[in-house]
């Protein structure tokens, strides 16, 4: 059996924490074959590392070994690559965190180490506004050669990936399941598009592993680990996002947060982060400025901002719009215009790139639109 298989076997043993697996591998001088074949001779090392009986048993489990072998044989016929922590392709950044994954499975590519990477994270039950911000910022950052990394979850994650896809740039998804599976299933299209644009699906779990709830906190440490900064777009006061932000701080990553309205549920988390010292960012220029210290106003002027001219009634309608989507009925009420007239003008605004339809009959100002 080739050497890689023994690594695959070790990588499959989820019961043993990644850190312990790495330590054991180091003590064995990377000769995992010995552990696989003569485990009884090495039991004192295992005891030394403080493995529980259950964990030791999983190392001995012959049935499990058979299963993993079949899985391995299946994997080598796919395009999924395995990077061990000792490989040179294994991201440098991950080795710096206190609990690096034992191995990474990758479908597609790993992020380019030379480029700046932004982890876009946020609530799954996000607002349309949050989605729009995530898409817009990811889009602009991608165009500026930043890499967007996120978790392929619904909500902000998907919006982040979509922004990068719109810019036709690689984007990377770290998932809590086997990389050959798409979870959640309705994101299959995003999954395909990530691969189409030379991005990658990354996971520390072997193929066919199901997405289990306890995988996700571990997944989040990889997202922040792979990033130079994490960008929190919308987050509730309690939940996984703030834990991820804490991880990021521990990993010495920059934490950035987009502020929200004071009493929105989804801005409690982000505003709290800002209160605690996260970098307040309002647009992609702020993010870029954090890295390159460019004169921001200069940068903003040079961006291809879509300027537009509005005539009187258009201005009334434009002013009645908000960044949070509003229903047409509300716009009609605010402007006092006829319903049909209102529709006509909004359509003009959309054509001028000044407004957008977030949901059916819900309109908002287009982000970054300057009058």
């Amino acid at each position: 059996m080739e050497e890689m298989f023994y690594w695959f076997w070790m990588a499959s043993l989820e019961q043993i924490p990644a850190g312990k697996r790495i330590k054991i591998a180091m003590r064995l001088k990377l000769r995992l074959e010995e552990l696989y074949n003569n485990i009884s001779e090495l039991e004192n090392i295992l005891k030394d590392e403080g493995l529980t009986e259950k964990q030791t048993a999983s190392l001995k489990d012959e049935k499990l070994k058979e299963e993993i072998k079949r899985k391995y044989e299946r994997m080598i016929y796919t395009d999924i690559k395995m990077y061990r922590f000792i490989d040179k392709e294994y991201p440098e950044k991950l080795l710096q965190i206190h609990n690096p994954p034992f191995a990474l499975f990758v479908k597609g590519n790993l992020p380019n180490d030379e480029k700046k990477t932004i982890g876009v994270v946020g609530s799954r039950a996000c607002s349309e506004y949050g989605k729009a911000v995530a898409t817009q910022m990811s889009y602009e950052l991608s165009l500026e050669n930043f890499q967007i990394i996120s978790g392929l979850a619904i909500g902000i994650d998907t919006a982040g990936h979509n922004g990068a896809i719109m810019a036709k740039k690689p984007t990377f998804a770290v998932v809590g399941n086997g990389v050959n599976l798409c979870y959640p299933i309705q994101n299959q299209r995003v999954y395909d598009q990530i691969l189409e644009h030379n991005g990658g699906i990354i996971s520390e779990y072997t193929i066919d592993t199901k997405a289990l709830s306890y995988h996700f906190p571990d997944r989040n440490r990889i997202i922040s680990g792979l990033s130079d900064a994490i960008l929190v777009i919308e987050a509730a006061e309690r939940g996984g996002i703030l834990i991820t932000a804490n991880d990021a701080v521990e990993q010495i990553r920059i934490v950035m947060a987009v502020p929200g309205r004071a009493n929105d549920v989804n801005s409690q988390g982000t505003n709290l982060l800002i209160k605690k010292g996260a970098v307040l960012v309002q647009n992609s220029a702020d993010v870029i400025g954090e890295f390159y210290n460019i004169n921001q106003s200069y940068y903003r002027l040079n961006r291809t901002s879509e300027n537009f001219m509005l005539v009187s009634e258009e201005k009334i309608v434009y002013d009645s719009l908000d960044l949070q989507p509003r229903h047409i009925e509300e716009i009609v009420q605010r402007t006092g215009l006829e319903y049909v007239k209102c529709l006509e003008i909004i359509n003009k605004l959309i054509n001028k790139n000044a407004a957008m339809e977030n949901l059916k009959n819900f309109y908002s100002k287009r982000l970054g639109s300057n009058q």
């Binding site: 349309e128 619904i154 959640p184 309705q186 229903h327 009925e329 509300e330 949901l359």
Partner: protein, 518 residues
Amino acid sequence: MRETKGNMFGKVLSSELVGIEAVTVVVEADTRSGLPNFSMVGDLSNKVREAKERVMVALENEGIVLPPVKITINLSPGDVRKEGTSFDLPIAVAVLVSLRYIEQSKVDNCFIVGELSLNGLINPVSGVLSMVDHYLSQGIRQVIVPTENYEEACIFDEMQVLPVSSLKEVIELLKKSFTERKLIADEMRKSKCIISKDENKNDAESKNDFKYVSGQKIAKRAMEIAAAGMHHILMVGPPGGGKSMLAKCLPSIMPPLSFEEKVEITKIYSVSNRLKNHLGLMEQRPFQAPHHTASQIAMTGGGSKAQPGIISLSHLGILFLDELPEFKRDTIEVLRQPLEERVISVNRLNKSVIYPCSFLLCVAMNPCKCGFYPDRNKCKCTEIQVQQYKGKISKPFMDRIDMSIEVFPVGYESIYKKTEEETSEDIRKRVIKAREIQNKRFRDEKFKYNSQIPSSAIDKYCHLSETQVAMMKKEYVKHDMSVRAYHKVLKVARTIADIEGSEDIKETHLLEAIGYRI
């Protein structure tokens, strides 16, 4: 062959319902000497068979003692299943005729329906209107009905209706000649009709009127369009938005019913025995709002008597399904075919009946389980849950709905604004105008409304200019429409143009129609 002596024969016209139409049933009675017996034949259900006991007791209670003879009753034609209790009275009369209490010639030009009670009083029956309609076409001009069914039987002016409340009255009447009875009927109609005509008018009309709905401009506009082009409509919105209120007002802006339509509706209600409170002709468009626990059978019709279901009871009116996702999937899916065909055929063991069910479908639902999406401060549903909630309604069913609007609770300002709201009557005028345009346009076609334009005729009736085609191409891509969705937008735009009185579809009409897409 030996000539039988002493046998006597009586024959009375009556009627049986098949669906909402009636067929002739001749009740024959034969009495002859022999072992005393009372037997009934002619494909009878148990309910009809029980008539024997009621007839015998009722006759004796009227003081008519049946002689010890062999009585045979036949309900012809023998191959139509007889149900219901309307045969009691004709059987009793036929027996009396055969016993020479009443002359045969007196009952020849008259048909009789009614249920007997043991003391000789007469109870109402269902489906009288259909029977009257049937016999008028057969040239019969006189009918004896239970008093409770009088109003209903009077709907057609040509019929001479004789209401009766006891067996005694029937016997009295049948001793009179045909012309004498005609005079009685005419007299009675004169005195009764005056009262009943205006009693019926101001029923539900006053309560549900769009003038009592404050704000909701767009929703009202959408309702107007739906009524004008008979577009099935979906309302989505949080609880308390006024969806039910809007739906209830929908009948008030539909064009008034024609006499033929009223008769058709009344027939359905009469057959299903729901006319008691209305008595005469139904003046109002039906509005049916079944609870979401309704079963498939309740919806389509059926049961042992193959009764009309809710969809037939909403014929020419509105079927309103509130909380659509809460309905059982079967109950909703079963509507798909009737929505296309506008008739439903109910098949039972011994019957197959076709009921009409051409209705305007109006459905309401919340956008998600909690009802507040996309207001993220109130809605905690995940996107998957929102999708799942929507997914409870199948795509094929959604495809049959033409328009969709969002309905939100109105702000305080619109409750207290002093502006006068438009009345239903004003809206109705525009609807009628739009209907007239459609009638004129589609006079040579098989369909009547814009919503029914088949895809082959879309180009003919919803013609777009070149600039409009360019615009729609953009919208088609932007909203990821299907061909069916695109056609629906065009049809709705056609209706909007009709309401505005515009010959051609304009850009604004298209824009508005896009706003109503599903």
